[in-house]
Structure formats: structure tokens, C-alpha cells
Symmetry: C2
């Protein structure tokens, strides 16, 4: 039987149930001082003794009885009856009540002469100046900062009791292999509890990752019972949907109760909220970005309810670059690349596939589109939530257009200048349109025009009269990738893998087919589109296709054969007005750098003779 | 011989020498994935295999050959020849090219009938959808975020090579005892390398704290040689000035060269920059806040130069509440309490003593007053640098006025509501003036007027006609603290310790002396002022004084005797307009809470009958 449809609960209702339905008492743990930064105190911390405990000299000099110094002046030097040499930090013996700096003392055979009176307590650090015995150094619930452990050490503290939430993480799924193993086809690396531990541990939770459990209700039940006994909160990874091998809800219902099955969020809908022994049990969906969303939107606020401090994420108002439609019933969270172009923030969505973890890796912000809304039009002004610091977001360089593996290497080199390259692969035409709308800093393009020139005819057509610069990255080789050395003319005899419409590579294919009078209709797989050179090569390597058109470096990376078809000018189109932007100028500098040229040589298939050549429009 | 005067170098020159004078090559270390959050990659990370490696079903259903499904409709169901049951995540065998959701399939004796055609690649997660084999998952110099380890685990990565800077920390000083030991008089807990490790470790440095070294040049030399060999950067704690027992500069000069001795910053002037074996050597002054300043202003930018990412600190424009004068030749860094009062930020300096670590603990911001400026007038508009997040700073509740130990407990309780109480002890009169100038949210006061009433006559005089609320915290007992049970009339026969002018306790003393016809002139120690009740009790406990006037709770905390003198109304004065401020309302709620009343009972000397009573002005 298939129990497919979940009754979804809104995110707000889910959170309010978590806030009100559980006592959420945090745990405590003792940590050494040096492990306490970023944690919160579970109780006030008191100084064990005064600092300093006795009066200390604040200067190198002599300790004196201030009364004896009265009347001393240039005209009437006073030779002191009682005085003793002290260095900074030395105890001022109790009969003295002031210190005179050594520079102001004339010393002759152990006798001290002064020419200026010392007021009482001059240059003395009084006992308790810093803190008094029994005084509260830190209140409870204080977020310990990097400078705190030094002070606490001085006050006699060696360990701190901090709040934590003990979180039990249970990975379920017969297809799982431990992280580090190479999964066989159909197996999956158990990475979601790794992500959970990294995310929740950073917030101060103490995570236990239990051994992986197969899709077997009895085994899952046993592990859940143990985890509930040992933790304040239990997260069961995967099996939370309503399919034939999804046992999470069933097990929670047996041991306690299922409060919510299905939350109106995307990704993350098949989440479960349950209760066993008054402890919250979360059923976390198996798709990594569903898991990420549940961790960020449900578990993180729950940890806050337990008393852990949650850093506030910044927000910026930005222009959303594409139209998206969504399920009206759900809050949808879209991972995005955010950058400041000219004088405004621009927000571009990354792949929304719940299995595409690279969207999380590449994103620096996300957009929440609330339930009740069916989608946004391109150009809409939205509020994005930053997942990095604002300073880091300000370093983002947005590159939109044609894909080439070399872009990743540009990103790598730019990081050393603290520029974060975010590239969106929408093909050359998409890049030109993004540049036109001022939604990127630079557009990599390689569009062959009727006149045999690259790129300029298209820019003239789509951005007429605008001041543009084309910077040549390289002349790159495109060719047919295969295992067996298939040439262009042999394509119709084999299964093909294509690139998406609007990409320069697709246009090159169509151009070459037309030249040779081959009809697309005879090519098996012409309709099968992927979006990167590497994806073409991968399809060939996996056997899904026999041949495809891609750059040499992609074929080389996967050890495949390559028959050249054409060499094309891969250029980066920029607005001249952006050349002064430090991010753009760093990009230009990097393209002409010896380090980048070396990388191009290593990757192979790039002719660097034209690298760095600028062409200017109009 | 005393080599007292250092030739100071400006902070900017110091930093530019560090930036240009050293190669600053970082070290690398391998860390397990779960320890990698917050670190930066030392090299790009590539996916070890494609994810997924083969086409997977994206839904529970059946894998089909899409061609076979053509023409299927409600009117014309199609029973499939080839199809196989798959669950989400299962491999789609190579002869199939689409998946149909189980809900859309009629199953009868292992035969599948459908009523809708499946386009090719429907509900299939293609191989490499997330990432392709050999693709760059992360560039070098990427700051690893909490969500990254999950993705890396999925891509076959178990360890990450991250950048670090190996920092050797050498504590010097014959007076030092290890942290955890109770220092004897004149001894000091070695806490500065603890602070350094906490601060620099948080930034990604790998610190080694060497055993403490006595003030002995030979021993120091040996440890420095070892530390230079084992690290990228060496910090010698203390001994950096030019006193008779300061050997740091001498040792650096012997083993390499001293580049700078004396930096024009305060605190932190006696810093040293040296070079041994092309490695930077920092002489860090011994006063904790001098050390803190050197770590923050010199060592932190140096770690950035090595390639470690340094979080940018936020800034806010604020009104500076007091006048300060400073040495014109130095950049001075003043630790402050910052809070938002009404519609502006208010910045109050904390104690500027270089030994007062509590100033760092209590501060949430600092002010840099640059060289060339002699000081600021009260009320000046300045730019403060936040040492906490802006969100945390927005939670600051500023309390300015009379000191009482109970204020620390209010702070402790308020933290549970995420309100951060910052109290400045300037005495009751200072509190009234701060309230008048809108420089605090609340002013604790206990001023006895001629008419026998507390506080109201003063508020009427200094804030005439303003809408104010006085909230009674407690009636508290003031009395004479001593070891032997000294009564008020016996004060003239003993050594006394006084409170500062403007404090309510000082005014109470003067009032009581006048009542009894005792002249202040006959009281030994009348001129010796401290600023808190606990400081009075500490002076008595340490034997510096025989008696003082303070609240009962301070005497009790130190186990001293107490002879009551008067009971006084300790109230908190607020502006009525601030009652809606969530921080102020939380304060009012906390004062009347049972938890606070319990604390007052435990501390002792507080009559809570009037607690929570409000008096309104005008």
C-alpha cells in the first residue's frame, strides 16, 4: 500500500508547536577555558579571588609613605626615611601608600631623594582594581568571546559550564555507505548526519551520530529508543516520507506520537515532528537540500528555544533575476548567488533540485518566497537572507554566461585576492542578456556569427551603442568526445548527448551540422540536453551516449578521446564602466597572469596567443 | 641602568613594515571534515566521483522507455512491455529513460498500465546532476561554512587541507604561576597566552603555548630559538618594555634584529616587532589590555597577511558620553559599553586601566581615537567598532548610576530574555545626569534628600517637569563593615575607606557624620575613595582599612561583620517614554519576578516589601 499524501502543516504552526509543546531544557557540560569560545555560560561565573589581591606598583620606582613626600619640590628636595625599590607588578608593602617613578628619583647609596610630592595612592594598582573576590565576572547565558578566556584564567577559572543540547543523529537507509567509502551504483554516502553535526555543532549542540541503520523498523526502533534515552533531541535522517520503505513515522508513532507529518516548506516537505518521552523527535528528509532546509528552518530555531544563541543572518534588498513559479501552499527557500552590481544587489537562483548540494556550496544567500504566493517575475525586488557575512557578499563577482571548466580556476585564483567568483551557467546568449540587464559583472561568451567573427556582432545587436570591452580568455578547442574516437561526420551513427539551447556550443553544433548538410532529426539524442561540458563528457564516460560536443579540457579530465571540430574565441564581455570595480579589475589581472596561463596549458586545448587581448565597443 | 624611553613607531608604519618586510607563508594542516568549519581551504577540492554516478529515480514509481509511453491518455491507456518498479534513489537501469510516479500507474499482476505519456528523462536525476567527477567543489581560500562538510562528504572527501599559521606563545616572567593555581601576593596567573590562544585560535592559527620562562635571558633565548624553529610566528609575552627585568628586546636582538621597539598605541605601547630567521617575532606587553590591543591591532592583521580570513567588525555612529583626554602622539583604543537609547547609539568608556580585564569582558565596542587628537569632549559624535554582532549590541540595556551587587544578578536574569545589561558605576548623581542627557535607559539611585524622602527631590530638581517613573528595587541596609564589629561612632578611632564623591553612599556617610557632629577631618582615610561596595569590603578584608560604609550583601559575601547604619530606598529611575522598550519592560518584569526576590533574600540585607512599587513624576 502506498500512503503517499501527507497532511502538511505550515512552518509557522510547526515552530509554534515546537515552542509551546516541549519543555526544551538544555543540557550542561564542563569545557576547558580554551574550548569555551562561542559557547554560552550555563551559570554565572564568579572571581575566585580579587585581582590583584594586594596593592601593586603600577610603575618601576620606589614605594613611599605619601605623607613623607609632602613639600618636596625642585627647590626643596626631600630625602626619604622610608622607601623601597619596586618594579611594575611588585607588591606595595602595607606601610607604603604611593609609588614614585624611578625617573623622578635620585638614588645615592640606597638613599632616595625626590623633588616632587606623591599624592596618596599615586601609581598604585589597588587590590581588586580589576575584579573583587566573589564578584560576578560573567552572567549566565553569556556568549563567550575570544577575549574572555584570558580574563577568566586570571580570575582563577579553568573550566566553564556551558549550555548544550545533546542531539542524537540516526542515519537510516539500506542504500547508505559510510563517508569515505566509494558508493556502488545506487548506494549513497551517508552525508546528511555529517552536515547536521557540522551545522548544529557550530551552534553549540553536542551531536552523537549513531551507526547507520537499514530500512528495518525493528532496528530503527531500537536505535531511536537508545537515542531518546541519551539525548535531548533526536533527528532521524531519511525515511520520513510516505513511501513503502519509509518507516520513520511508524516507529515514532509506536514509541510516542507523530505530531506533524509533512511541513509546508520546499525543499523539506516530508519532515516529521514527533514526541517520545517529552523529547522532540525530528524526521529529516533524505534529500540533502531538504535536510539542510529542515536543519536551518526548524532545528535551528528549536536549538534557540533550548537556549543556544543563534547568530542573526543579515538581509539585503536585491533584484531577482529570473521568473520562478512555485507551489502556492508552501514556503519555498531558493538558494541563490548574490552580488552587488553597480549600485544594487542582484540575486540569481541556483539549481532548485533537492539533490544538488552544490547549490548550497555555491550560494551566499537564499530567498524565502512565502506560502500564498505563486512565484515571482524576473526583476522583482526581494529581500534576500545572507548565509555569509555582508563583507563576504560584497566581494562577490557575478559571472553569467557560457560555461567552461577554466572558470573554476579563475575562481580559485581570484580567491587569493579575496574576490569570490559566482558563476551562473546560462549559455552565451543568457550571458549577453544578463549583461544587458546589468545583472552580472561579466559574461563569458563564444558566439560564432554569420560573418565568421565571434561575439561582437551579438553584442552590437543586443547592447547597441553601449561601451563594452571584450577580453579574450583563450582560443579554445571544441570537438567530439567519445571513448572510441568518433569524428563529427560519424555522429548520426551513434547515440549523441547535446547541450542546451542558447549555449554557444549548441550553436556551434547546429552551425557545423548545417555546413555539412546533416539534419538534426537524424541524430539520436539530439533532444537530450545537459548544461556543461563536463556533463557531456560524463554522459559519454557513463555509456549513456557515445559522443557529444565539448571542450578538450573536459574530455581530458575524464580520460576520453577527442576529435577537434573548431577553435573558438572564448571572451569575457564587460561594461567599460565596471573596469574600475576592484572585483572586475582583479578578474582582468588574473586572466593575463602567468599563473592562469600555466593552468590553461595544464588543462589543455586552450590557445593562449590571444589571451588578454581587449576589443572595445562601440 | 634604566633604558626607559622607547622610540615609538606609528601603528600604520608598524603594520606596513609587517606587510612588506616578511614573506608570511602560511602553514597547512589536514583536518577531519567535521573540524573544518570556519577554516579556509589551502587548495581546491575536487569531487572524487560524480554525484550521482548513475541515473537515479527521483520519485517512487516505475522506470520506463519513454518511447513506449507515447500516445497514452485517459482514453487510451497503455500497458507497458518493458518497465520495472523503482523507488526514489534507485538506479534507473540503462535501457530505461524515464520514471512515472507510482500514483499514476495501475498495477495488475506485475503489469503496469499508464494513462499519460512520459517525456524522456522525466523524474530522473541524471548522473552528475550534483557534481561531476573531477569538478572543483571548492576553490582554495574558501571559508568553509557549516553546510559544506555534508556536501564534501558526499563527494568522497574525508579530510580537508586548510591554511593555518603556527604561532608560538612564550610566557615570560618570574612572577607567573600557571592558570589554575591561586597566586600568592605579587604573583600573577599566566593568562595572556591563554587569551592569545583563544583569540588567534578562533581565527585559525595553531598555537603552541611554551612552558613559562623566568626573567632570565639565557632561558628566554633557548625557548625563543625552539619556538622560531617550530612556528611561523612567535609571540613573547611580557618583558617587552625597557625596565631592568625586560629581556625580550635583548634576546631578539641577539638572535635576529629588533625592527620596532615601542608602538604609538595605548594601551600596548611597549610592543616589539623583531625578525629572526625571516619570521616575525612580536614582543607583547604584559598588561592584559595592552596584550589584547596588540593581539587585535597588530597580530590579527598579520594573520590576515598570512592568508587567514578575519571577520570584519561592524561599526556604528554613536554619541560619546564623557570627555577624555589622551596622549596626542598615540592611537588610543578605549573599551566601551554601547547601547541604543531612544533613537541613537550611546557609547560610554569603561575603565582605561591596562590591568582591568573586566573592561574587555564588559565591553561590546571600542573607540579608536587617532594620533594627532588630544581627546574628545562629552557629547561628541564618534564611530565605534563593535566587538559583538550588531544584533547583540541592539540588545544592550544601559544602566548608569549607583552601584549595588544586586545589579549583577539583574544582569544574570535578564540574559535569559536575551537582554544584555551594561552597568556603569558613576554614583547616583552621575546616573541622574546620564538620564537627563538620555545616555542610559535606567539610573539606579538612592539619594537621601533634606526632607527625608529618597530620590524624588533630586529628580524634580535635575529633570524638572519630565515624565519619569521610579521603580523600587528594594530597601537596602547600609552599615559599617569591619572585621571586629566597629560601630558608626567608633569610625574616628580607626582607619577608614571611603566611597567616591557623588555616590549616594558617600552622601549617606556625610549626612550621618553631620547628624552626629563628627568632622570628616578626624577620619583617617576619608580621602581614600573606591567606587563599589565590594571594593570597600575588600579593603577591609585585606587589612588596608578597618572600616567602611557599604551594603550588607558586600560584607556578607566576604564574611565580614556589619553594623547597620541606615536603610535606604534603592530605586531605578526611568523615562516613562521608555517603558515600552522591550529591554526596559524586561527590566521592570525582572525586578518584580519571584526569581529576583529569591536572590535578594539570599544575598541578604534587602527588604523587599516595597520592591516593584512605582512612583511617577511629575
Amino acid at each position: 500500500m502506498v500512503k503517499r499524501y501527507l497532511t502538511v502543516t505550515s512552518l509557522n504552526e510547526t515552530l509554534s508547536l515546537l515552542y509551546t509543546g516541549f519543555t526544551c531544557t538544555p543540557s550542561r557540560e564542563r569545557v576547558p577555558l580554551l574550548k569555551s569560545v562561542g559557547r554560552v555560560t550555563a551559570e554565572p561565573i564568579f572571581a575566585r579571588y580579587s585581582v590583584p589581591e594586594v596593592h601593586l606598583a603600577a610603575m618601576d620606582g620606589i614605594a613611599v609613605v605619601s605623607k613623607e613626600t609632602r613639600g618636596a619640590s625642585e627647590q626643596h628636595p626631600v630625602t626619604l626615611e622610608q622607601a623601597v625599590r619596586v618594579n611594575t607588578g611588585n607588591v606595595v608593602p602595607s606601610r607604603y601608600d604611593a609609588v614614585i617613578m624611578i625617573e623622578d628619583v635620585h638614588i645615592d647609596h640606597e638613599r632616595f631623594t625626590i623633588r616632587k610630592a606623591a599624592p596618596p595612592w599615586q601609581h598604585v594598582r589597588p587590590a581588586g582594581e580589576d575584579i573583587g573576590e566573589s564578584e560576578m565576572a560573567l552572567p549566565s547565558r553569556h556568549l563567550i568571546r575570544p577575549s574572555d578566556p584570558g580574563a577568566l584564567a586570571a580570575y582563577g577559572i579553568t573550566e566553564v559550564t556551558v549550555l548544550t543540547v545533546r542531539v542524537g543523529l540516526i542515519p537510516t537507509g539500506s542504500e547508505l555507505v559510510p563517508h569515505g567509502d566509494h558508493p556502488a551504483p545506487g548506494q549513497v554516502v551517508e552525508s546528511n548526519t555529517v552536515m547536521a553535526e557540522a551545522m548544529l555543532g557550530t551552534l553549540g549542540a553536542r551531536c552523537i551520530r549513531y551507526p547507520m541503520v537499514k530500512d528495518d523498523p525493528a532496528q530503527i526502533r531500537k536505535t531511536v529508543q537508545r537515542a531518546v534515552a541519551e539525548n535531548d533531541l533526536v533527528i532521524i535522517s531519511a525515511g520520513s516520507s510516505a513511501g513503502t520503505k519509509d518507516y520513520t513515522a511508524e516507529v515514532i508513532a509506536e514509541l510516542g506520537e507523530v505530531l506533524i507529518h509533512g511541513v509546508a516548506i520546499k525543499p523539506g516537505k516530508p519532515a516529521i515532528i514527533g514526541r517520545i518521552a517529552d523529547k522532540p523527535i525530528i524526521g529529516m528528509p533524505g534529500y540533502p537540500l531538504s535536510a539542510l532546509t529542515v536543519l536551518r528552518e526548524i532545528v535551528t530555531p528549536l536549538l534557540h528555544r533550548f537556549g543556544l544563541p543563534i547568530p542573526a543572518l543579515g538581509t539585503v534588498d536585491a533584484r531577482f533575476t529570473v521568473s520562478v513559479s512555485k507551489d502556492i501552499g508552501s514556503d519555498e527557500f531558493i538558494l541563490c548567488s548574490l552580488g552587488n552590481v553597480g549600485d544594487r544587489w542582484v540575486l540569481s537562483p541556483l539549481s532548485r533540485g533537492a539533490g544538488v548540494q552544490m547549490s548550497a556550496v555555491r550560494s551566499n544567500a537564499y530567498l524565502k518566497i512565502p506560502a500564498g504566493i505563486e512565484g515571482y517575475e524576473a526583476g522583482k525586488s526581494v529581500t534576500a537572507t545572507l548565509t555569509v557575512s555582508r563583507t563576504e557578499a560584497e566581494r562577490a563577482l557575478l559571472i553569467t554566461g557560457s560555461h567552461d571548466p577554466l572558470v573554476d580556476y579563475l575562481a580559485d585564483l581570484l580567491q587569493q585576492k579575496e574576490i569570490e567568483l559566482h558563476s551562473t551557467h546560462v549559455g552565451s546568449m543568457g550571458g549577453i542578456l544578463a549583461l544587458k540587464k546589468n545583472e552580472c559583472h561579466a559574461a563569458p561568451v563564444h558566439l560564432l556569427a554569420e560573418n565568421g567573427d565571434y561575439n561582437i556582432p551579438y553584442l552590437k545587436k543586443y547592447l547597441p551603442g553601449e561601451d563594452l570591452v571584450l577580453l579574450c580568455v583563450a582560443e579554445r578547442q571544441q570537438g567530439i568526445v567519445s571513448k572510441t574516437g568518433i569524428g563529427f561526420d560519424e555522429i548520426p551513427a551513434h547515440q549523441f548527448i547535446n547541450r542546451q539551447r542558447g549555449s554557444g556550443t549548441r550553436m556551434l553544433l547546429d552551425h557545423e551540422l548545417k555546413l555539412r548538410g546533416i539534419s538534426p532529426a537524424v541524430i539520436r539524442g539530439y533532444e537530450r540536453e545537459v548544461t556543461t561540458h563536463l556533463a557531456v563528457a560524463l554522459a559519454v564516460k557513463s555509456g549513456e551516449a557515445d559522443a557529444g560536443l565539448c571542450v578538450y579540457s573536459a574530455a581530458k579530465a575524464l580520460g576520453l578521446r577527442f576529435i577537434p571540430v573548431a577553435s573558438e574565441r572564448y571572451e569575457i564581455a564587460l561594461r567599460s564602466g565596471h573596469l574600475d570595480d576592484p572585483r572586475v579589475s582583479a578578474l582582468c589581472d588574473t586572466i593575463v597572469s602567468p599563473a592562469f596561463r600555466e593552468i590553461l596549458d595544464r588543462l589543455g586545448g586552450y590557445d593562449t596567443e590571444e589571451t588578454g587581448v581587449r576589443r572595445v565597443l562601440p
